[in-house]
């Protein structure tokens, strides 16, 4: 299966991505969205700043987002600069990245009718391409929050290495997503170090064969 991957550029592209994500998230988690009046406690989510599109013959089948600043992890995950620096120190790369520059991979959504074909890990890997995140421009770090099963079955399956920052607090908006045995965490991904070259250097736009990656 081939998919065209490209960044959402036009207003129309962004609208299509928002509609797809809204449909998936509303159906699966009963959340709604707002540009300015988000409220996690009220299950009203904020929109990411940037989107990556996955198209099959022109049809948008999946999309993911990127917060370029004001990440979820820092706003709602109660993660501080100190927390980030600690992880970098443990990795021995304290001077290699600017912790005040953060990007967050988010809202990875695959249309229900397109699930089961390996798109989720593929798009998650592609979403860490420097051509999408532009982390090389300012030595930014990549962060995300997800439940453990997603971290294992999607992020790790894609070959990304993730570093635990801290548990993510409980919010009503995630009540249909997380469970006590499958909690959420904030995690950090160091570009270049933790992102395999096939993803980090992935050219965008581009058409790619999606291969199903076996579960670990």
């Amino acid at each position: 299966m081939k998919l065209m991957l490209r960044r959402a550029e036009s207003r129309g592209d962004i609208l299509r991505c928002r509609q797809l994500i809204a449909e998936v998230y509303n159906r699966d988690y009963e959340v709604v969205f707002s540009e300015n009046e988000y409220d996690l406690a009220a299950k009203v989510e904020p929109w990411p700043h940037r989107f990556l599109m996955a198209l099959s013959a022109g049809e948008l089948v999946a999309a993911c987002g990127l917060y370029m600043r004001d990440t979820y992890v820092e706003r709602f995950g109660q993660v501080s600069d100190t927390d980030f620096r600690e992880v970098l120190r443990d990795a021995g790369v304290e001077d290699g990245y600017d912790v005040t520059r953060r990007r967050e991979f988010t809202k990875m959504s695959v249309r229900h009718s397109w699930r089961g074909r390996g798109i989720a890990p593929f798009l998650t890997g592609a979403g860490h391409s420097r051509n999408f995140t532009e982390v090389d421009a300012d030595r930014a770090i990549m962060v995300f929050c997800a439940k453990r099963s997603i971290i294992d079955n999607i992020f790790h399956r894609a070959g990304l290495h993730t570093r635990t920052i801290k548990p993510f607090p409980v919010y009503k908006v995630h009540e249909l997503y997380r469970t006590p045995t499958d909690p959420m965490e904030s995690r950090l991904i160091l570009p270049r170090l933790d992102v395999p070259e096939r993803w980090y250097e992935l050219s965008l736009p581009g058409e790619y064969e999606v291969e199903r990656i076996p579960r670990p």
Partner: protein
């Protein structure tokens, strides 16, 4: 062909309906087609749409502020329901407001899952016949809405004197039903601030 089913109190469902007041057409009419997903994608649109529609018709009332507040409340409630209960939120829903000399008629139309639609219709029938105060108290005491006539429609009937009707048109191929909810309120009830139900 599946038969359309009617529930509750129906005053009129538009020019193509046998219930349309043909002798007295609306003095004013506003109709919006909107994709429920767009409201899911930006929730504030729901209230903004209600405010816009309310302002549009409030001009025809002596106390615009009061009428606008009431209309916005009513329209918001119906629009929220149309969005929440649309089984396929990418299919456009419709909101139509018709203003007559003595009343306002607000109709929403959306697709709904067949089981959900039937349960809703039955609940509206009960609402038309029952005591709204009693139903309000009963609803408050029961678990959150899972379908049916939720507390919103009960409040519209109880507090705004609304007459509520539902028309359900099943699909011929067993797919989604089309649900039209009609709420009619006397202009006097909109202006007076008191329910005359």
């Amino acid at each position: 062909m599946m038969t359309t089913r009617l529930y509750g109190t129906l005053a009129g469902m538009g020019p193509d309906s046998p219930h349309y007041h043909g002798a007295e057409g609306p003095l004013s009419e506003l109709s919006l087609s909107l994709v429920p997903l767009a409201i899911v994608a930006e929730w504030t649109r729901c209230g903004e749409t209600a405010d816009f529609v309310a302002r549009y018709f409030a001009h025809d009332f002596d106390d615009r502020e009061l009428a606008g507040n009431v209309l916005s409340t009513v329209v918001n409630e119906l629009l929220e329901n149309a969005v929440k209960f649309a089984s396929d939120k990418s299919i456009p829903a419709r909101l139509t407001v018709r203003e007559y000399a003595e009343r306002l008629c607000i109709v929403t139309r959306n697709v709904a899952a067949p089981g959900q639609a039937a349960a809703f219709g039955a609940a509206v029938s009960r609402l038309a016949e029952g005591d709204p105060e009693g139903m309000f108290a009963e609803r408050i005491a029961s678990p959150p809405e899972t379908g049916g006539a939720g507390i919103g429609l009960i409040i519209l009937r109880k507090d705004y004197g609304a007459r509520v009707g539902v028309r359900i048109t099943p699909s011929d191929d067993g797919g989604a039903d089309v649900v039209e909810v009609e709420v009619e309120i006397n202009n006097g009830d909109i202006e007076a601030g008191e329910s005359r139900a």
